[in-house]
């Protein structure tokens, strides 16, 4: 399977589970899509730790000091899995998984080279030392506990946007 193919399948599956999806060609396009997505949202938390995160840090007046007070979090995540349309978050390198959980809106950036084709590819890539927390996120937080009526955003984000760059 080619890389383009894997990216296509990932975006298609992520969309089918209720995530917003964008394919950005370069950092400029990434920047534009992030500002568009968070246009009407503030404050926004962005750790700014990776190159991609540094490129999309919101202007100061829009910035949240921490994820507890944020309406949205913009961050680069560890990777993604095409087969299930999931993004993968990991606690390695001091990443805060709660940042993509507490605010109502999660904007996740995935580097195109970090998309795995299948679940098996992902699990075989893990070394013997694994981080304390690896979480797969597949669409927004949802529940159907009241008469099986699907409702999003019960505890986690009600909106998930995924940008492949």
């Amino acid at each position: 399977m080619t890389r383009e193919n894997t990216i296509d399948i990932f975006l298609k599956n992520a969309k089918s589970v209720g995530a917003g999806t964008v394919l950005a060609a370069d950092l400029d396009e990434l920047k534009q899509s992030v500002s568009k997505i968070i246009e009407d949202t503030e404050p926004v938390y962005c750790p700014g730790k990776t190159d991609k995160e540094a490129a999309v840090i919101p202007p100061e007046e829009k910035r949240a000091p921490d994820y507890f007070s944020a309406q949205a979090t913009v961050e680069e995540v560890f990777g993604a899995i095409a087969e299930t349309g999931s993004i993968v978050c990991s606690s390695q390198d001091g990443r805060e998984l709660q940042a993509g959980l507490l605010p109502a809106h999660h904007v996740a950036i995935v580097a195109r080279e970090n998309i795995f084709s299948t679940l098996d590819d992902f699990f075989s890539s893990l070394g013997p030392e694994i981080p304390t927390n690896i979480t797969f996120i597949t669409g927004p937080s949802r529940t159907a506990d009241i008469e099986l009526t699907l409702t999003v955003g019960v505890h986690g984000p009600e909106r998930l946007d995924v940008i492949v760059c």
Partner: protein, 455 residues
């Protein structure tokens, strides 16, 4: 209103359940929706049978070497920073958890849904010790407010309609009545968010535990499982020993089957792989992780003829397709686990003498076995237990006498012929006897019988 039953007297419980029209309406809609989702979830899967084979083989391998895998899991979880406890029974597990909380002065606990904690009645025990326990799965929170127990292993409040839930929220949370699921969900989000941030400890179950890495795995849709395991500094997980899988590479087999079988989803919204405690340089993970590995009868089940029930991954598919479950709902079983897997597991856990009435809660149609993603031979196990019940003389005496009489009659052509004639003559009389209403649903005996036409 559907009340949790504490007795396993299925015949009595089911008569009451069938009279509850609100519950029956809710069940009729929801089991159909669940089954439809499941079918849809698998509709695009090219080779489901090979997925089922793989998952079934992994679960069988675990059961064949369970002791080895449990030791391996415990050793690896310990080296990752967890404290692992082995609890023989429900009481031991409750005492361990109560002591952990007491020693740390933890008075407020948030909980993610765990059927094992229901099995050991953990909440009631902790509340007696003065601990505030808040269920955070929306369905579980609803049944906790109603002081009930879950009626489905995945959708605990399946038996309740939106009006009942609206009234419950208005009464307990001081909000205006609404029966809009979206508004009700937002109310719960606000109330429970505060609880998450205040809690001193989080208690969760686990869908799986990985022997090779010492990790525990949690599948959730709401995100409460993630909060419970990452926000408080102290995390306690309770799980039964058979939840182990050998390695993380095996997990893909269950990611493909569990959410699809349960809700038709390609993947649940969240799945967390939690391995030990927070390492230096990490910003996520509990500072203390305690894992309680509970036996509660599993070693005995493993040694017996119903051991394959321990392959179960708790997807709920067997109850969603069961015609009995769909009619009477989960509370009529009077047990922690309802539906076909529940009948078998409960009989094994509680013993034949106490739970044999539950063996009536099946039509033996076998659809449960057809849908089981890990090939638990549910129908075969139901037969095995029903045979054992007969051998142990636990069938109701009227049924036993009737069967013995029928056996005698069919052995003799003369008696059989006489019986046929008699049944026709006495039918109008028999159907007048109070309590014999079921006769009206049976075909009436005819004069020109099949046997007569053939002779």
């Amino acid at each position: 209103m559907s009340k949790p039953k504490t007795s396993l007297d299925f015949r009595k419980n089911s008569v009451e359940a069938l009279a509850d029209t609100a519950m029956r309406e809710a069940m009729r809609n929801s089991t159909a929706v669940f089954s439809g989702h499941r079918e849809q979830g698998f509709s695009t899967v090219p080779d489901l049978e090979s997925w089922r084979d793989r998952a079934s083989d992994i679960r069988s391998r675990v059961l064949d070497n369970l002791s080895e895998y449990v030791d391996k899991f415990a050793a690896n979880a310990t080296s990752a920073g967890a404290v692992v406890y082995r609890a023989k029974d429900a009481e031991a597990s409750r005492d361990i958890i109560a002591a952990i909380l007491r020693d740390r002065g933890a008075k407020k606990v948030v909980k993610a849904k765990s059927m094992v904690s229901e099995e050991v009645y953990l909440n009631a025990h902790l509340e007696e010790q003065g601990v505030e326990v808040v269920e955070t799965d929306l369905g579980e929170y609803i049944v906790q407010l109603a002081k009930e127990r879950p009626s489905h292993i995945l959708a605990p409040a399946l038996h309740k309609n939106r009006r009942q839930i609206g009234e419950l929220f208005a009464k307990h949370l001081g909000v205006d009545y609404t029966d809009d699921p979206e508004v009700l969900t937002k109310i719960a989000r606000k109330v429970l968010r505060k609880k998450f941030l205040e809690a001193a400890a989080g208690i969760s179950g686990a869908n799986f535990a990985v022997a090779d890495t010492g990790s525990i795995i949690l599948f959730t849709n709401e995100g409460n499982g993630r909060m419970v395991t990452t926000l408080p500094r102290l995390h306690i997980a309770i799980l039964t020993i058979e939840k182990i899988i050998p390695s993380l590479t095996d997990l893909s087999a269950f990611i493909r089957l569990l959410p699809r079988s349960a809700t038709g989803q390609i993947h649940s919204s969240y799945m967390s792989i939690i391995t030990g405690t927070r390492n230096p340089g990490e910003e996520t993970g509990a500072e203390e992780l305690h894992i309680v590995l509970l036996d509660n009868g599993r070693w005995d089940i493993l040694a017996g003829e119903c051991r394959e029930i321990l392959k179960c991954i708790r997807c709920g598919a067997c109850m969603n397709v069961c015609p009995v479950y769909g009619s009477v709902g989960g509370h009529a079983y009077g047990s922690t686990y309802p539906g076909p897997m529940g009948i078998i597991l409960t009989t094994m856990l509680e013993g034949m003498e106490k739970s044999h009435p539950l063996l009536d809660a099946t039509t033996l149609c076998g659809v449960c076995a057809d849908v089981c993603p890990v090939r638990v031979p549910l129908l075969k196990l139901l037969y095995t237990l029903r045979e054992r019940r007969t051998k142990e003389g636990l069938v109701p005496s009227l049924e036993r006498t009737a069967m013995a009489a029928f056996g005698l009659v069919v052995k003799s052509p003369t008696l059989f012929s006489w019986g046929q004639g008699m049944s026709r003559i006495s039918w109008p009389l028999l159907s007048k006897i109070p309590g014999s209403e079921t006769l009206e649903r049976l075909p009436k005996p005819v004069k020109d019988t099949f046997r007569r036409r053939m002779s």
